[in-house]
Assembly symmetry: C2
Homo-oligomer: 347 residues x 2
């Protein structure tokens, strides 16, 4: 990539957020400038910016943007948090930046030091990005112990540098395996309906020179039956307190298939994805997106005009199908409320 | 449909075969005229005509076409049989028509009655089509006993009037369930990479006025987990003697998912699909198709130029995952070499 995935622009050119429009990849690297919160929310809703960790970063910078513009910051944080319902990181990032802003506003250190309160939100946003970059390295380090020599890893959706401040969650682990000489093949589910695997993960794999091949999502089972998959590694959009994992639609399908074929199924996600306030999988709100994401492609209809579609953006994998959850704080294995609580204990 | 799916054209306008180009549906009803065997083989290879039962019919009419043209009929039968490797019906139909032609040629009844030998091949081809039409009705009759009231049926690929001389195999059963007032919903897997579900099954469902919705293949698991699927019904391209079922890629995935969710998994296929000469699933040759079926869509690339793809056209479902095989001669349940042999005994 020549363009930055996500970039804050200071005044006087800003305040603004520049982001790489992920809906246009891999065909074009188009940078979108969001000079206000509604345009950022639009970019989030139409998936120009996406992926749980990056949504956390985007949420925080969005609050800083509102503050820098002199908008109603609390209202902006609420609107950003509601832009998409499933990834918990969005509300988490927006909430942290709002807290920092509110703490700085009365007369605090920032004012004393000649800074404006929006800069407190901005520092918090930058701290979230820095922490995410570090978390990517730590997750890869913890996860590498679970990757065998000559590993053929199957992944779903996109979890790399496009959605984190570092090398990625599951994709960061794949990169570490590659550097350690352990990656024989990265199998990439194309990830219908929006093809984040074929479009984005294959793009990142190409840039990094990884051995990789794309497949139709429904071909993963026959690949497993042929003994061609040693490990499944995916990210997460929200992990409930019981270890249930909401992630891109098709993840649960892979988890069932992996169990049937006795293939380990790893979820790689930062602790910011774990929502201890969501009790279990049933409590996770699943975003249902427009039917035309399924019934048309690149603006062309692929189904008859009158045919509707079932189009949930995510599914929920129960903890008993997850071999381990790899976080920056260590590995939860087996996945239980207890093993997750231990990792989150002094977070 | 206003155009016929498959039609023989007699001399003097022919001899020729007219067929509806299924690669253009649902956007356009384009009729392709095959005036010789190479053009028919091309239509078969590029899936303009497709689906196991229709391939049987096409194979037989193709031999009649070669005979009517005065071509080398045995060579034509062999070339047609090799046009695609997995569906057994293709070679079966071509072989029957070749036999009829060879028997008629020496000086038999056809010559005595003033007919030409190609007409024997043509009569055999018409008999195959008539038998297939009847088989569709019989399969639907046998299968209906397995469909509960208010059934929500999930299907994959396309198995209707576009691929048979009747209402279809699995789709014929769905139509019978609809007429019996038992169909609450037909869930249609879009069936990547070539989208036969979204393009063709949704088209047939729309024409028939069935309640239906399309879904990304990888969303079927969450639909089953939500208790929204009562039955999976699919067709078959080749059934081995042990009951292993080769069918469109993704079928095996559904079978594993159905087992995990305790949903009955039905295969609906005529006895011509059962190949007693193929011992088991491992003996079935699986066609691997071009990577660009996965990496591009409607002529547009969806993955980076350097990314390859894994693209088998079919997968193999072992008999232990198939609840029952519904044929025109009755139902094999459980699916064992014995239960299949009984159905095939006096075939």
């Amino acid at each position: 990539m020549t363009a930055a995935v996500f970039r804050w622009v200071d005044p006087p050119a800003g305040p603004a957020i520049e982001l790489l429009d992920q809906t246009r990849l891999p065909r074009a690297e188009v940078v979108v400038t969001c000079a206000d919160v509604p345009s950022l929310i639009d970019a989030i809703a139409r998936l120009a910016v996406r992926g749980a960790p990056l949504l956390g970063i985007a949420g925080a910078f969005g609050v800083a943007l509102a503050a820098a513009r002199g908008d109603d910051v609390a209202a902006a944080a609420e609107a950003i948090s509601a832009a998409r319902p499933t990834a918990v990181n969005l509300a988490w990032g927006a909430g942290l930046a709002l807290d920092a802003y509110l703490r700085a506003r009365p007369a605090g250190d920032f004012l004393a030091a000649g800074k404006r309160p929006y800069e407190a939100a901005l520092e918090q946003a930058r701290a979230i990005a820095d922490a995410d970059r570090l978390a990517c390295r730590q997750m890869a380090g913890h996860g590498l112990a679970l990757v065998p020599e000559g590993a053929r890893i199957l992944t779903h959706c996109n979890t790399g540098a496009l959605v984190t401040a570092g090398e990625g969650t599951a994709f960061g682990l794949v990169m570490a395996a590659h550097r350690a000489g352990r990656l024989a093949m990265l199998w990439i589910d194309e990830t219908r309906p929006l093809l984040q695997g074929a479009r984005l993960t294959a793009y990142e794999a190409s840039l990094a020179g990884l051995p990789h091949r794309v497949l139709a999502d429904c071909a993963a089972a026959s690949l497993m039956a042929a003994g061609q998959v040693d490990l499944v590694a995916v990210g997460a959009d929200r992990i409930a307190a019981d270890g249930s994992v909401a992630n891109k639609i098709g993840t649960y399908s892979l988890a069932v298939l992996a169990r049937h074929h006795r293939v380990p199924f790893l979820v790689v996600a930062p602790m910011s994805t774990v929502d201890f306030c969501t009790k279990d999988g049933r409590s996770i709100v699943i975003e249902e997106r427009a039917p035309d994401e399924v019934t048309s492609l690149a603006g062309q209809p692929i189904a008859p005009a009158g045919s509707g579609a079932y189009n949930p953006a995510f599914d929920v994998t129960p903890p008993e199908l997850v071999t381990a959850i790899v976080t920056e704080r260590g590995v939860a294995h087996p996945v239980t409320p207890g093993s997750l609580r231990v990792l989150g204990a002094d977070a």
